[in-house]
Symmetry: D3
Subunit: 318 residues, 6 copies
């Protein structure tokens, strides 16, 4: 019997820039996009190095998910490379990010974008890009995060502490269409929680999430949100992880999520039909240890794609 | 809506040494005291650096506990600075520690001392200080620890392996009034366990603690102890943590507590009316990684204060 | 009361090479053997340094297991030192390993070998050694591992990715007599899983293992396997650990086992009468942090010996 | 005899923000200014954390320079705190920096500013600020650096690769008035060197610098430059250090300066009458090891102040 | 003026495996070859990871050597990829290495091979390959090393401690044609030194090398050796570096070479007409810190190519 | 030819505690003594772990010094183990240290003690021990150190900042008989320098030491001191190293000595007939990186023994 061991780096396709016009976009299921921007972070961060760190870590993974007996190798996934960033003009960076999403959603709307940030400020730009293309759709957000990310934009502009507020204040998203899971500890001001209550934002703390069961809770949330909106944007802030599982985030905290809990939550999110985009943000590979947070991010992306494949009713023929 | 984000370092008050006589002690609920002593450790330890490490980490925390929807900012907490230590005379260090506790309990007995060690030898001095002031009270001990700390004093004097035995042999505490939670693995000699049995000391291993449920167990223990004694002294040896959660202890071990379990246990302890003092010991910031154990210690202190605030029937008016 | 604190390094006996003929082997219950070979690893590995790293870590442990109230000090355990390895001829290394096992099982079959690897290639040699001596016995394997270790030998010879396949293809072990627990994530090719199915190999993923309960599952597996075979060989690949608990493995992964789960599983394995040998492989102390994986390996060995002692109906008289 | 050991943190004064109008600026000899900006770096950098890192490291130093038998304690040095930065608008940051320098040079021109960056982009702003105030003066630059910092501004704006070109293209500085020492290896494109030649910029490679002697060379350069210009601005890019001496820079390189060579060069620079300002840039404390680069930066600042004091003809009376 | 900044990774060509027959080998000046073998190391080593580590570090370097004002961009250098290694048969690995050298020297003898090891055992194979092709030539060796590498082959086969002895015993090289520079300290047995004396091997200790001047000494040695032999093979064992400059070697030592000394020595070696091949061995990127030893190795390779270019009388036309 | 490679750990003898009376002390040339005390350090230090760290590092060294072509294997050196320390009574520790030296010098005065500290406080005890035995001799001190170690004993007792003052104030040593080499930077208060001047203590800064030549300077100092005193005690504080060469000291500093300079100085010290004892202090192996400071300490001890052997007119017969 032949043993074939395709690795993720061999499976994900890259585009030949000389032949972009010959690409048949219609057969892609998901498109990976790097957004190497972390100048917009409040704390010093090298999250800009994350897209390349994730790509380098692909080689550690096969395409086969043993937990769910699913092989990703016949899912067509393309790596589009990175959105071009400017060194000293963050506004230009943000504009480029939004336009990249517009371009993806316009030309090939069946492809699910999987975005490797970058800091959390990019989520506002990506969702705005989606909304520009699908202006008649109601978009909701599923957020795994230690923070609300509801800080005031008037203080320091569209930083990584503001994306959800940015989307709410600009009318792109309603507070009631945001579900935040994983909040915990002393890492959000009370005033932010009061603002969240005021706008009707939904949240479940890490403690409740764990108590009620990861699988049960995530599916309830996805169902509830699916009934409200047309499209769900899934944003995964890696700082949701406990610092023992995710040392590679700019300000890692104790009391957070474990990686097995994260993979469970992300897998079920991938299975949900209304989830049309995903991003992974705030991973600083310079702070990582033994690439463990990086590997956890890649595993999350692959768990999401496992769910996506099952949702698309694929059958593997061996 | 105004977003205010008070940080723990902005909230905890420090005393102006020039105006100590004008301080109105009556309005303080808790007093933080540093005890930078680790010369009394059996193994080499930089736990003496811990008080300053904790202070430096305060800035990472807001005053708002999202898990229990409680804001600490109207709890009045003062940092009294450090007890003066001697470099080459440990007896003098120990005397100063005892006297510091006597002074606190005498002048302002309503204030709950929260002591940042230092190694575990200081607990014997602090409890002796309490007993000197409240000589008619029966004092019990709740201990989260990987070890019994029941070693013989005749071998090497009052080291960090001896505090509980010190208190028992000096008649300050009865064996039956000590409850040790978190013991596990191969880190205590059988002879110590036999001594513990002999004096009627109570203990629950980490394995049982987890099996029976953290919340349930800690509350049963607190209730049982509350019925026996007038005052409970709570001592948290950070080495109770599993080495993946608490790398910053002189001899970290596998098989210990997780930080979410610790926060749960400490929060409920803070709520218990009879708990009148807390210490956090045996954290060596030089061994820490990314300040994770340090942050876990600060979080524990804040979880305790959350319980304390709820016990005091505070109401936050926004 | 006298406090005695025997440490593991004081308890485990070493042989005086000048007096080997005077050794009374009949009183030994277990024999520790080092196999410092990692040249046969696919990835670069310093697992060859593991036997000495484990020995150096013995001093951190007492002989008393508090979780199960069992003192190992009257179990007779001998450290036989290391099997001699060749620097540039792996075949010689493998032959020496097999012969060491033959020698142990021939001369003193009542002694349980506990082997400190080295990489996983050694397991094939050790089991072949056992089978040479006990040729009429049916041997089964209990494997805690992130991988199947079923790779093709024709590609690169008997590497650390091949031991189980090696044993199956050479007819030493039947596929149905192998039980693999702890597989998870994207770390095995689908083709390996199909081969496993083809040969009837049994496996339970980490996710199922945890869901069904560690204690329940391991005991069911041990019972099932005990009914099939005469002898169970227990192989513990340290890469079964989650990377936050076991950083010291050549390619640590997220989503794996926690150390408290591991100790539980290993303890019950030690109690099972048919388990006659154990190995611990693929621990690279150069990659470890604060000796945490090393300590976890020693703790696993001691947990196994705790089970072994209880199985042998020892009584400690104090 | 009384032993007094004043530390640098006790000696450097800080301003009480409530009493700024009562400050007598006339008695200050030097003013320290933090510029926590590193968003303008080409590579990810946490140089923004440097000002605070340097301040925290002051406590490791006494005020007494044993090499030159000089006590700094009667030099009056004030720490002005940090220039306020914006998180998402680098233009605002740069404007604030320039204005801070204008303010210092206008109100108290006798004070020598010592600026703790931040990345190298700030140097252009600081020199422009100086030139705004002293518009009739010819300003020259002494630069210790591994790079020319002559990159094109049109590509990515005023990044940390551009300050010298920025100053030349804006007419603030002439090429012939720039002296770069410490260039080495393969870290500058040939096109940059050709541009340097074109504008008449002066440079001495690290290899020549060492061959000709540090003390001799630096004094020749200072003399030559002093004859050309009215004012010398001294910019120290910490990446001039060899990576074994300065691990804490965003892209440290082999083949650079040793710290004893650096201290020698900086001390003589401090003694030169025409040197009116100094900055220390591109130190990323997150990349540092054991605070060694941080300590080297503080030592450099103190070596400069030693020279400054000797230049001012101070006499210490004991 | 246009600023172009070609990086080393953009300059070094890679072969398209589909078009190897169309490659015009005649225009290449140097060919880079990876040999990812470290199983033959006495100590555990991940030197097998070195070729890829060096390739990843190319991006940190421009093609322009500022110290010698030389641009490498019109030198034609090709990366041939890695020699295929076997996991469990070191003999096969060694045979492949020898054959790779034979193939290079046979087909395109004008190309200078620059080999990225691997451990030092590969040098014996590479020199044997050269001698096979150029059997009438007398080959000499210039070795920068902390060790003689004269260990007995009969003990453990052709390990990394044996290459020079291997070449001498097999008659490929005469003892008098070997020049070892950089030996120091207590890292060679006296018996090895006596063997070296016996066979007339030449050596200069690090202490003498430094005392007499790096540039002077290396040129004397090269001249002396050039007069004896037809071809010089240059082998650079990275363990020649002091441990503060080269932490990334399996057993780094104090008292060794500094990187500026190394670059000087290597540059002059590159200029010597008789030097026809170079290897860089015993760099373990897993032990490295901040890629500093890796960068030093790349810098050495580029310094060698700088000398090579000057030897070939290139003229850069700008 | 036979290749024998004796390692330092195989060469240094250890005493069998059961046969101490049968030991023939007369044939020993040097005796190694561990003093695991660092509780008396001002800063937190694990220098207590140093003796064992040095012993573990012996295996990295052969007995042959290539720089001076000297084999130590026929020098008789014995490791006496560690002086017993008390955990909570530093006075007892100090008394034991003094008595150990008295015992060595009384029973076998021809043996040169080489002491592995511990912190610098032990030097005062060791010299006092020597003086007790040789009360008629005038003892001088050669000190390699970044600090004077002249702090006031009345503040904190006999800490590691006080040994030289301790010896001077107690009349054991005269100020003029102390020679301190290696002082540099801002690491001593001016008041200490004034005290040193007052008592006539001799010192040469690192900058002068290097300028005048290590070999020349050390030999001048040794000659000068030899003319004054009967016996020279040599104390090596490892903090004399630059932080890039010696990261493993409690407060490492930039601007210090390089390891090749240190080995040169120590070797010549070993050759000086009047030098009768040596200690190595203030090395904290927990702060070390890759054992580099530890290896440097072992190399220093071996360099000293090389000088000692040459002084004793040994001849190696091969």
């Amino acid at each position: 019997m032949t043993i074939e061991e395709p690795k993720v780096n061999e499976w994900i396709q890259t585009l030949d820039p000389r032949n972009l016009d010959k690409v048949d976009w219609s057969h892609f299921h998901a498109a990976i996009l790097g957004v190497p921007l972390s100048r917009s972070s409040i704390s010093a961060s090298a999250a800009s190095e994350n897209p390349d760190a994730l790509r380098r870590a692909w080689k550690y993974f096969t395409t086969y998910n043993l937990d769910h007996d699913e092989d990703l190798s016949d899912l067509n996934v393309v790596d589009l490379g990175d959105v071009r960033q400017h060194v000293t003009n963050i506004e230009v960076c943000h504009r480029n990010i939004k336009e990249a999403m517009i371009s993806i959603r316009t030309v090939h709307p069946q492809v699910v974008p999987v975005v490797m940030g970058g800091d959390h400020s990019i989520t506002a730009m990506l969702v705005k890009g989606m909304q520009t293309v699908h202006s008649s759709e109601r978009i909701g957000i599923l957020q795994l995060d230690t923070h609300f990310d509801l800080r005031n934009l008037s203080d320091n502009g569209p930083t990584n502490g503001t994306p959800i507020r940015n989307l709410i204040e600009s009318g792109v998203i309603k507070g009631e269409d945001v579900y935040n899971l994983g909040l915990h500890g002393f890492f959000n001001a009370r005033s932010l929680k009061m603002y969240a209550d005021e706008i009707g934002l939904n949240y479940i703390t890490m403690r409740e999430f764990r108590k009620n069961g990861i699988e049960t809770t995530i599916n309830q949330v996805l169902e509830e949100l699916s009934q409200k909106v047309d499209t769900i944007y899934f944003t995964l802030d890696m700082d949701v992880l406990d610092c023992s599982y995710g040392p590679g985030v700019p300000a890692s905290t104790p009391g957070g999520m474990r990686s097995d809990e994260l993979f469970e939550a992300v897998y079920h999110t991938g299975k949900c039909t209304k989830v049309k985009a995903m991003d992974i943000v705030c991973l600083d590979p310079y702070k990582d240890r033994g690439e463990m947070t990086t590997k956890t991010a890649v595993h999350s992306m692959l768990s999401f794609l496992t769910g996506l494949k099952q949702r698309l009713h694929f059958t593997v023929i061996s």
